[in-house]
């Protein structure tokens, strides 16, 4: 594969994209997990799928948007879905988690309808569901790089506000932090990262890349910054390792990455158990 990396552009695209996603998804995932929003990632990924199906449908039936990357439509849907979740969370103040199944099923329903109108697509859609190494184009890579820069700047600049909001929302609001605005920006970032990650790991597995490395990290890290650091390291290990394995074994990269992430998670749980027993 090493020699392939120099030879084939698609491998370079996949690898560079994977490395970026390996940083982005767990980085944002830390905030998602500690704010107990893990399932939002799932809901948004399904809405992203609807966007992609919509884009492919337009391309097939009407011939418009033919040159346009389906990723754009996916991102648009994802962001709109995020806005709806926020609205619904305000409508159902006492059942905030209700917003998630509503949006998730809405996304899947829309996707199913778009796919049926289009009379099915070619294998393309499968690669969106489970991720694919060969599907990543140079254009995808540029888009994802752009998102990466945006997200990292936003996290650095808003770090202390995001931390306070995650740790103690009431206190954040009482001390005058613009909680609504920051939460809004945060949800937009999540929507973008989900759309970006989906090329490699696929829609159905995107949320795992945001949650599994964080779940492993929380077991053993001390402090918030260390939790972020370990999450990114675990995420990166799973992505890079998963891409190598999937290339050699000809497995779907998304599935391989997720299984590696689960292995890391199990390892940290065992490590913690052994350490506790030794003390």
């Amino acid at each position: 594969m090493i020699s392939g990396l120099f030879q084939y552009e698609f491998l370079q695209n996949a690898f560079l994209t994977g490395i970026i996603i390996g940083v982005l998804a767990p980085l944002l995932g830390v905030f998602v997990v500690v704010r107990r929003l893990s399932l939002i990632a799932d809901a948004l990924s399904h809405v992203t799928l609807a966007g992609i199906a919509f884009s492919l449908l337009l391309e097939k039936k009407l011939g418009i948007l033919a040159g346009l990357n389906p990723l754009y439509m996916g991102m648009t849907f994802s962001v709109i879905g995020a806005l709806f979740i926020e609205r619904l969370r305000n409508v159902y103040k006492h059942y905030q988690e209700l917003a998630i199944p509503i949006i998730l099923s809405g996304g899947i329903g829309l996707s199913a309808i778009f796919i049926s109108i289009a009379d099915g697509f070619n294998t393309d859609l499968f690669s969106y569901l489970f991720g694919s190494v060969s599907a990543v184009t140079r254009m995808d890579l540029w888009i994802i790089m752009g998102i990466c820069i945006l997200v990292i700047i936003a996290i650095i600049v808003l770090y202390k506000e995001l931390f306070l909001l995650s740790f103690d929302e009431e206190h954040a609001r009482a001390s005058g932090v613009p909680a609504k605005l920051i939460h809004f920006i945060f949800i937009l970032l999540v929507a973008l990262v989900i759309a970006a990650s989906m090329r490699i790991v696929g829609i159905l597995l995107v949320s795992s890349l945001m949650t599994l490395p964080v779940a492993a990290s929380i077991r053993i890290a001390t402090g918030f910054k260390q939790t972020i650091l370990y999450s990114v390291l675990f995420g990166e290990a799973a992505v890079v390792g998963g891409l190598f394995l999937s290339y050699y074994l000809d497995w779907a990269p998304g599935g391989t990455i997720v299984l590696l992430a689960i292995l890391i998670l199990i390892a940290t749980i065992l490590y913690k158990k052994i350490r506790l027993r030794m003390v």
Binding site: K160, F163, E170, A174, S175, S217, F224, Q226
Partner: protein, 253 residues
């Protein structure tokens, strides 16, 4: 009252929630340097009143002035520190160190789009020292006992050097042994650092011991005055507030 420039001035505050009055025509002035205890039974509107003072609830009727400014245009929230009931305000599994938690108390003071400086770190160390938690600064907050956690939250509130500290039932989840120590620390803050304190509690025993002023709340204000006047109240007056025979409980948790 004795000060012409009260830190908090509430005028005829009424708050309705789902067609019911939660607070009725509350008027109170809290002078600088006071240690005010607000007592009242469950559902008396204590928390609602506090939420008003913290700007978490908008004023429907009446007026609140903080440091002389109408709360609707009040911006200097870093002059006010807040310590909530530990039990329901955070998840103990949160992966943050004591240091990180206390530093987050400076979020507002440092300001949006800006980063903490070495000065800020020094402040965190100093305030941890003052509540006796310096040695725990690199421990995860979830590993500490209830009393230790509450000290950390006090430190978080104090690190921005507030002039007014608002505490909502701060001893819930703190073991009885440490409750006295905790109140001694509050008394100290009030006397030594001249921080104005507003303490909401159901523990009337504490009220008569430590605070300088008492307010009894049950939708409306039943009593407001100095602790001496409060202690002179007869038991039946108190039970008229609580609606049943109330016992004056001293530090019992």
């Amino acid at each position: 009252m004795e000060n012409s420039n009260p830190i908090i001035k509430i005028d005829h505050l009424t708050y309705r929630y789902e067609k019911e009055n939660v607070l009725e025509d509350i008027s109170i002035e809290i002078p600088k340097g006071a240690f005010l205890g607000i007592v009242g039974p469950n559902g008396s509107g204590k928390s609602t009143l506090l939420k008003h003072l913290l700007g978490l609830i908008k004023v429907q009727q009446g007026e609140i002035r903080l440091f002389g400014t109408d709360i609707r245009s009040f911006k200097e929230w870093d002059r006010i520190g807040f310590v909530s009931q530990k039990a329901n305000s955070f998840n103990t599994g949160f992966p943050a160190t004591v240091f990180e938690v206390v530093l987050s108390g400076l979020t507002r003071k440092i300001g949006l789009f800006r980063f903490g400086s070495r000065e800020d770190r020094k402040k965190v160390h100093a305030v941890l020292e003052s509540v006796g938690m310096r040695e725990f600064e690199n421990r995860n907050i979830g590993e500490l006992s209830g009393g230790q956690q509450q000290r950390v939250f006090i430190a978080r509130a104090l690190v921005s050097e507030p002039e007014l500290l608002i505490l909502d039932e701060p001893t819930v989840g703190v073991d009885a042994q440490n409750v006295n120590q905790f109140y001694d620390m509050l008394e100290n803050l009030n006397k030594e650092l001249h921080i104005t304190l507003v303490l909401v509690t159901h523990d009337i025993g504490v009220i008569s011991d430590k605070v300088t002023h008492v307010a009894c709340l049950n939708k409306n204000l039943h009593f407001h005055g100095s602790t001496m006047e409060f202690n002179a109240l007869k038991e039946q007056d108190l039970s008229s507030i609580y609606g049943h025979g109330v016992q004056v409980i001293t530090h019992q948790h």
